[in-house]
Subunit: 274 residues, 2 copies
DNA sequence: ATACGGCCTCCAGCAGGGGGAGAGTCAATC
DNA sequence: GATTGACTCTCCCCCTGCTGGAGGCCGTAT
């Protein structure tokens, strides 16, 4: 016979836990002194305690454990319980993986943005951009509506997105309400090319080349200043600019927050006709 | 302005949850009627609610969310939170995987035993067993102490175990207290062979061959009957039996329960000298 | 006698809500 | 103006698997 303290040391379960198990009818001490209420545990209780520990380590609920203990004494008999438990664990695993990959995505995105910020000079640069496969939705109207286009692409290509969203501007002048633009996102090469689908999304190769580029920090409605700056540079250098021009959203509204517009980062890219 | 019911439909959070969030200071309605206590939510609350949904879907605690909302409005600022969360998720993932693999092991073991039961004739068979790499601990004394040997091997080779535990009997006669036997478990071929280590475990190849075998169902102390049966058969057939003989524990005490001895399955294998 | 440690019961609290009782409110209709 | 029916309010209990603490009894060593 063990007192509850001794039994606690033997089984590794805390005294509190033992009292709780008693109350729950999971592990009843073999003797309870009627006078004092003291609990005394026998050897056979040690075995039960071990079984309970095992089952708890497999994360069975106390209700399940109570049932299992009351009816069975062999693993063969609880196969159903084990398999139910396994399915639940699989499910949990799936959830965790999902959360993990979401977190990874968000973190990766933020880190890229941070790196871009660090290397940023906010001066016009000349560089070259590679060709890439993109999915795009051509739209006419207000720039503010581009979100619908991106949502459309996101819905359709979800996992196959492999780069930052950008906008192609087909207008040669600034238009407020009747702009002609295309919301685009680079996609993996495993996606099939094709004409414009019913959904309005076209998948095609976008060619690269030399370009002038300028990183813009701040809200979108201040992009004008950066456009002026880059256009002035291009004129000064005698570059002939191709249409459409690009606006790459390095850091825009996030997946969690709408984001602080002052921290938005956008790169304007203008390909040079050679 | 939305009433709590309307806001619930807009945000997809239940009324109960909204009240709870209010109480917790996570999402405070922009107007609370002093007279009636009615909560009214503004547009800005919708955005906050979305953020909360996102963060909850990443399984952030309400305490974290409250802090995040009170201090930040951009994902860049909560990178630390995200990374802490990610680590916690990784940890959870590890736990789940551990539990899952334990469950798999137990289930697989039980299913094998069940299959063995189904095909069992409980008659002496002739068959052949393959060679295998084993880890063994030679012991002298009582059979009942073999558990220590198995525990030793289990501790040392854990993940590399690839078959059922068995005992090699080096005695030609039955001995109670001073038996000479070896607790063995097959291990993966990736394990290095070697002499007897300090721990007493020896890793070596055990050769196979033709044998007579008999499945025994029931407690170990009734093995004698099955031994008698198989020996009689061997004598009848004029087989010359090799020492040591083997006792393979198809189903013994389990990982959870000590198990019901009446359901134990043990195969006696005796190699034939040719 | 007294001090100390072990044990008892009962209550509260964690997280993130769900369920329900009983009472007050709102808006529309009769 | 009154009534109805749909909403909403607060308050309390419940879930899981314990943990912590208060206040009081028990046993023994000194």
């Amino acid at each position: 016979m063990f007192s509850i303290g001794e039994f606690s040391k033997v089984t590794g379960l805390t005294v509190k836990t033992l009292r709780f198990y008693h109350e729950q009818g999971v592990l009843t001490p073999s003797v309870v002194d009627q006078q004092t209420g003291y609990r005394y545990y026998a050897q056979s209780n040690v075995e039960t305690a071990c079984v309970i520990r095992q089952l708890r380590s497999l994360d069975f609920s106390l209700a399940d454990i109570r049932q299992i203990l009351s009816s069975y004494d062999d693993e063969a008999d609880i196969l159903e319980y084990l398999e139910r438990r396994k399915e639940a664990v699989q499910e949990k695993l799936r959830e965790c993986r999902e959360i993990g990959s979401s977190l990874d995505q968000i973190i990766a995105k933020e880190k890229e943005a941070r790196a871009a910020m660090k290397n940023a000079t906010f001066e016009v640069e000349e560089k070259s951009v590679g060709a890439m496969l993109i999915a795009g939705v051509r739209m006419k109207g207000r720039y503010g509506d581009c979100g619908q286009g991106f949502a459309q692409i996101g819905k359709q290509f979800g996992r196959n997105i492999c780069g930052k969203a950008f906008l192609l501007h087909y207008d040669n002048e600034y238009k407020e309400d009747d702009a002609d633009f295309e919301a685009c996102i680079p996609v993996r090469s495993s996606v099939e090319k094709g004409g414009i689908e019913k959904s309005g999304v076209s998948v095609r190769e976008l060619s690269g080349g030399r370009c002038v580029a300028l990183l813009h920090k701040g809200p979108y409605d201040e992009l004008g200043r950066s456009y002026a700056k880059i256009m002035a540079y291009a004129k000064e250098q005698g570059f002939n600019i191709e249409t459409p021009t690009r606006e790459v959203y390095i850091k825009g509204p996030g997946m969690i927050f709408k984001g602080n517009p002052k921290k938005h980062l956008t790169e304007i890219q203008m390909l040079i006709k050679e």
